[in-house]
């Protein structure tokens, strides 16, 4: 391990499980366990997977001006949601570029809990503080908070059994305070895999106890601890964008196909004018999903060019093997004329042209 790398409260558990650890943005994180990425991926699709995502950032926005502050920051209608809702939103710059994507938990008009990307934690907290009204306190709890995702078709019943039957009835994209294996948690019916399940936030000092109980419950069900390798392949297969790959401050949510999380008609927020203008003018490029048939035996990856007549016209932002669907899958920014589902595009895979097809929707659909 490089000196100075950060460890989550579950680091010892990962070592004991034989995880392969890598430097992920300064965190010493499990990329896979001995089962390997493909088995971990399939465990989430077929049973249940446990993910340590404690490297992610968490904060509270509190006070009489919390609602107004969140309304100014978020593109989605976070502030007007009923208490108990968990809402995916973008944060935008005044020019419409994406600062981050995150999930806000609305506890009340005076209190919001937010989970942000690990790689953006410092930037986001600064962004919140820079734009918070005087009546809104921004409290960074990242260093005290662990986060464990439990995902897969067996996740809900498993967590419900560990919580005295208190969480199975929660609708998707809601949260509640609960106890799981005797540990107080904020349980969100959310995730980043395309599967049903929960993300459980708890105090650092409770994390090992919660993790151990989850591992003990999951293994007999065919479940596995899952590293960042499968976290990435799962989110890609469900066409969930990743900040730093598919999203950044040079692309807008509209270009990224996240217009559903941008409420242009609701009220003013940072970036709204630019997004309204872009909507009126038309998009310069669009993020699309593509597949490469298995017979071509090629995988397009982040940074490869979409080419037309020998010229680059777009760029692959994420790509990899389709673990459940076969062939290769990915996402790319392309000009709108190439964005229609069914369009054939060419991707330069290290000097060889891969024929790819633009497809709509998720690559893998739950229950298929």
């Amino acid at each position: 391990m490089s000196p100075g790398m950060k460890r989550t409260p579950l680091w010892e558990a990962h070592k004991q499980l034989g995880a392969k650890l890598i430097d992920f943005g300064g965190w010493d994180m499990p990329v896979s366990y001995p089962a390997g990425t493909i088995k971990e991926h399939k465990a989430v699709r077929e049973a249940v997977g446990l993910f340590d995502v404690s490297h992610m950032g968490e904060a509270y926005l509190r006070g009489p001006e919390a609602k107004a502050t969140v309304g100014k920051l978020a593109t989605n209608a976070v502030e007007s949601a009923p208490p108990g809702k968990a809402i995916y939103t973008l944060l935008c710059t005044p020019s419409g570029g994406i600062v981050d994507d995150c999930i806000f938990y609305k506890r009340s008009d005076d209190e919001f809990f937010v989970i942000v990307n690990a790689s953006n934690q410092a930037k986001d907290l600064e962004w919140f503080r820079d734009h918070a009204s005087t009546g809104c306190d921004v409290v960074d709890v990242s260093d005290q908070t662990a986060l464990i995702a439990v995902q897969g078709p067996k996740a809900v019943a498993m967590v419900d059994a560990l919580s005295g039957g208190s969480v199975a009835g929660m609708p998707s994209f809601t949260f509640r305070d609960a106890e799981v294996a005797g540990v107080p948690v904020i349980a969100g019916r959310t995730g980043y895999t395309g599967e049903d399940g929960f993300e459980l936030a708890c105090a650092n000092h409770d994390a090992m106890k919660l993790w151990a109980a989850l591992v003990e419950a999951a293994l007999p069900l065919g479940g596995l601890p899952v590293g960042l390798g499968a976290r990435d392949s799962l989110r890609l297969e469900s066409k969930l964008p990743l900040y730093g790959n598919d999203l950044d401050d040079e692309h807008t949510p509209l270009e990224a196909g996240l217009g559903w999380a941008v409420k242009l008609d609701k009220r003013d927020f940072i970036g709204r004018d630019a997004l309204l203008a872009q909507k009126a003018d038309g998009l310069p490029r669009q993020l699309v999903g593509f597949t490469i048939a298995a017979e071509h035996r090629m995988i397009a990856r982040h940074g490869y060019s979409v080419v037309e007549g020998g010229q680059p016209v777009g760029i692959v932002t994420s790509g990899g093997p389709g673990i459940m669907v076969g062939g290769a899958i990915g996402m790319a920014y392309v000009p709108p004329r190439l964005a229609e589902p069914g369009t054939q595009i060419s991707i330069d895979c290290r000097g060889k042209l891969a024929p790819a097809t633009v497809v709509a929707g998720k690559f893998y659909k739950r229950g298929k």
């Binding site: 392969k20 990329v31 990425t37 493909i38 392949s233 995988i299 990899g320």
Partner: protein, 128 residues
């Protein structure tokens, strides 16, 4: 630290070679496999192709990355492991056996002599 079979020769690029009659069978080491993770595609040359020491002769795609395979010695490809086309996971499960990749008829035997024995390769890996 994994141990490396003593009957093999090794390259800096984490490939192994085993005498197979007059030819040399080539694969990648356990260390390389551990670095790559689950392998999903192995792209190999054709039988009869000439390869040049240090030049790319194929690629390996794992779930997370793509890597080049470099020719350990110059020569002619006399066999490829066609079972990797539909079974790339054999490289993970049996890197020194069923996960072999190609067989080379070496053009210059002295290039074989320059390869590392397992103890030297063990030190090479320890320094990574």
């Amino acid at each position: 630290m994994s141990t490396f079979p003593t009957d093999l020769r090794y390259t800096n690029d984490h490939e192994w070679l085993r005498a197979q009659g007059a030819n040399w069978r080539v694969g990648i080491t356990q260390f390389a496999v551990d670095q790559l993770g689950d392998i999903t595609l192995v792209d190999l040359p054709n039988v009869g192709d000439l390869i040049t020491k240090g030049q790319r002769f194929g690629t390996i795609e794992s779930v997370k990355s793509v890597s080049d395979l470099y020719a350990p010695v110059s020569g002619r490809v006399v066999a490829i492991n066609t079972s990797l086309k539909d079974g790339p996971e054999q490289v993970n499960s049996d890197p020194y056996g069923n996960g072999w990749m190609i067989e080379i008829e070496a053009a210059d035997k002295s290039e074989i002599a320059e390869l590392m024995a397992s103890d030297a390769y063990t030190k090479h890996v320890a320094a990574q």
